[in-house]
């Protein structure tokens, strides 16, 4: 017990260990990997149609043969870089590179049209850096504490944890995807996850005689299909691609200091983004919009919003980058991904045999802490890139889809195949893309589907073991204080959105 207590706080309690982890980060291969990751992330984030989830999901299988720490650092760098990269074309071309940069475009592009693109870019990169750094500090401080709490979890609590993650799905529901449909696809994901070998009896379930399904449906091909290939199919199926206005790129852009009083909005966005990132299912797009709306509410110059207000850029960018560290807190401590990018990253941890939970901070501390520390370096990397070459990177958004689509498709096929060296996984990826697109068009949530697929095995393991311990009685899931608290949290997560859903649907109908 003493050993565990001493080792779970290596960073907080032991400066020597911190130095050891920093030494791992500051080796040449690690630094090169992080810089490449962050740079690639900025480029990918800058390409409309390509997202951080797509990039991380696509590259996870390739890190399998890499040193695990370097592989994770590469993906972490991409995550940080892509979150920032989306803002560059959003500001200069009114074309958000990622959905999370849509809020940035609302203020950034009008600023560019006024010749203040340089100020907007600077505000964006500094806010992104602050948001990312703040959330990484929170990750570093709170993840080990939360992971230690996970030691008290038995099978019943593990099952409830997965249900809590599923309850978080309701918050994914937005204007496009209804709450019921989000829940439905979440459960569908859990149903797909039951395919394969039953851990309790060793018998095969729903494999249709296919030996490739003995180990179940791997979530990596599903992830690549749902988040990379669908985007490519959509791009390929567009009749006309929207012409990008490049006028702001040609005009002179004023380079000056950061606007006064902007730090308040950066702090607001950083805090909001981190908190939202921690909530399962909440993504960077929501974080950016909520931060943007908060900044609008507290601003003294509300009338300037929509006309090029740097306060909006600062809050939105700090918000979406704040999501990075926040989303990794539940991911690496409890195995519940904060968002779809974190889900892809969790896949990377799993394929390297690092199961999220307390072990990451004890047995694998020499991999986990360097990974977390590498996020600081990734933030510094994109800060330097942003301050030096951002205006030139905006031209990435001008790469035609006719070139981007075949390249990404070829890499998606390669990525799906590489993990298990199985062509069946490639077929799975294509099937997930096609049927996922149909579900998306019908308004179902693909994020919920992938969360269900990931949470399914966790839920089943906890449920089955809980039933054995409880000798067949489901009361085991209500007995402990932790379980009762978790039920309360699940109710808090579910009831308000369900009430709102009821009010909006049936209230409107009765009127």
């Amino acid at each position: 017990m003493y050993q565990f207590s001493a080792s779970i706080y290596p960073v907080l309690g032991c400066g020597r260990q911190l130095m050891e982890y920093l030494e791992i980060v500051f080796t040449l291969p690690a630094l090169v990997t992080i810089v490449i990751g962050a740079f690639a992330g900025v480029i990918i984030g800058g390409m409309p149609g390509l997202t951080a989830t797509m990039a991380v999901g696509l590259l996870v299988p390739f890190t399998y043969t890499m040193d695990p720490t370097l592989g994770l650092m590469l993906l972490g760098g991409i995550y940080c870089g892509a979150m920032y990269g989306g803002s560059i074309p959003a500001i200069l071309l009114n074309t958000p590179g990622t959905p999370a940069a849509v809020a940035t475009a609302l203020e950034g592009y009008p600023m560019s049209r006024k010749g203040e693109g340089g100020v907007a870019l600077k505000t964006s990169v500094v806010a992104s850096f602050c948001g990312g750094t703040f959330s990484t500090i929170i990750l570093l401080l709170f993840a080990p504490i939360l992971a230690r709490q996970a030691l008290n979890f038995g099978p019943a609590e593990t099952f409830l944890l997965a249900i809590m993650g599923l309850a978080g799905i309701v918050s994914i529901a937005d204007e496009k995807t209804s709450l019921l449909k989000a829940l439905l696809t979440g459960v569908l994901g859990m149903m797909i996850a039951i395919i394969g070998t039953d851990d309790m009896s060793g018998s095969l379930r729903y494999t249709a005689g296919l030996i490739e399904l003995i180990d179940g449906v791997d979530f990596m091909p599903a992830l690549i299909g749902l988040f990379s290939m669908i985007q490519m199919l959509e791009l390929a199926g567009q009749k006309k691609h929207v012409a990008i206005d490049t006028s702001a790129l040609k005009g002179p852009q004023k380079r000056s200091k950061l606007p006064k009083g902007i730090s308040k909005y950066i702090a607001l966005g950083s805090g909001t983004g981190t908190v939202i990132g921690v909530l399962p299912g909440e993504g960077a797009t929501i974080a950016a919009f909520i931060s943007y709306n908060f900044s609008k509410q507290i601003s003294k110059v509300k009338h300037l919003f929509g006309k090029g207000n740097p306060e909006g850029v600062a809050a939105a960018e700090a918000g979406n980058n704040g999501c990075v560290g926040g989303s990794l807190v539940p991911t690496i401590t409890l195995g519940i991904p904060g968002n779809s990018v974190a889900a892809a990253l969790m896949g990377a941890f799993i394929i390297h045999g690092m199961i999220p939970g307390p072990e990451l901070f004890t047995v694998y501390a020499d991999r986990t802490y360097p990974f977390i520390l590498s996020l600081f370096v990734a933030n510094i990397t994109f800060l330097i890139i942003g301050l030096s070459v951002a205006p030139y990177l905006a031209r990435i958004a001008l790469i035609p889809p006719s070139i981007m689509v075949p390249v990404v498709c070829a890499l998606a096929v390669l990525g799906s195949y590489a993990l298990n060296q199985s062509v069946f996984d490639v077929y799975l990826m294509i099937a997930f893309a096609f049927f996922g697109l149909i579900l998306k068009k019908l308004g179902y949530s693909l994020e919920a589907l992938i969360l269900g697929l990931i949470l399914g095995p966790i839920a089943e393991g906890g449920f089955s073991q809980g039933m054995i311990i409880g000798k067949g009685s489901p009361w085991i899931f209500f007995e402990s204080d932790i379980a009762k608290t978790m039920w309360l949290i699940i109710a808090i997560l579910l009831l308000p959105p369900l009430y709102n859903y009821y009010k909006n649907h049936f209230g409107a109908r009765s009127k």
Binding site: V187, P406, C409, I438, G443
Partner: protein
């Protein structure tokens, strides 16, 4: 096809699947009857109930006639899908480099790119990059040509 009709077919299929999955749990052997089977039944009930509620909401809604369009340009969409399946079929026999060397230019052309130099440079650049990074540095095993 009308979007709401496709949604109804999907939900009906979901209800049928949940009933079949529920019924199939009777065949779970031994210890699984008290563990996995209960979990699968729980999921089937949740899935079925949610599907029925959604189906009822869909039926109660006033008829909407929004078309279900998978893509604006169907030949390109299905062309890419067919090319992906062919890519997967020939992936192991032709190997990644030959298969991708055909796939990338064909899809670029299909999507309207007519600049042959750009297509050629992109294809060569990507294949070289994959070889250098994944084969040389990361030692990823990619299938080679197995034509004979």
């Amino acid at each position: 096809m009308i979007k709401s009709s496709v949604d109804r077919y999907f939900l009906i299929l979901s209800v049928i699947i949940s009933v079949l999955v529920y019924a199939s749990t009777d065949e779970f052997p031994g210890i699984a009857q008290k563990t996995s089977a209960v979990y699968v039944r729980f999921l089937a009930v949740c899935f079925g109930t949610l599907s029925v509620i959604q189906l009822l909401l869909n039926l109660l809604k006033q008829d909407e006639f929004e078309r279900m369009d998978l893509a604006d340009h169907l030949p390109r969409f299905f062309g890419l899908l067919a090319a992906l399946i062919l890519f997967a079929i020939f992936f192991e026999s032709l190997g990644f480099f030959i298969a991708a060397g055909i796939f990338i230019p064909v899809i670029a052309y299909l999507l309207g790119e007519r600049n042959t130099i750009l297509i050629a440079l992109t294809t060569i650049g990507i294949l070289s990059g994959v070889y250098l990074i994944f084969v040389s540095v990361l030692s990823v095993n990619l299938p080679g040509p197995r034509l004979w």
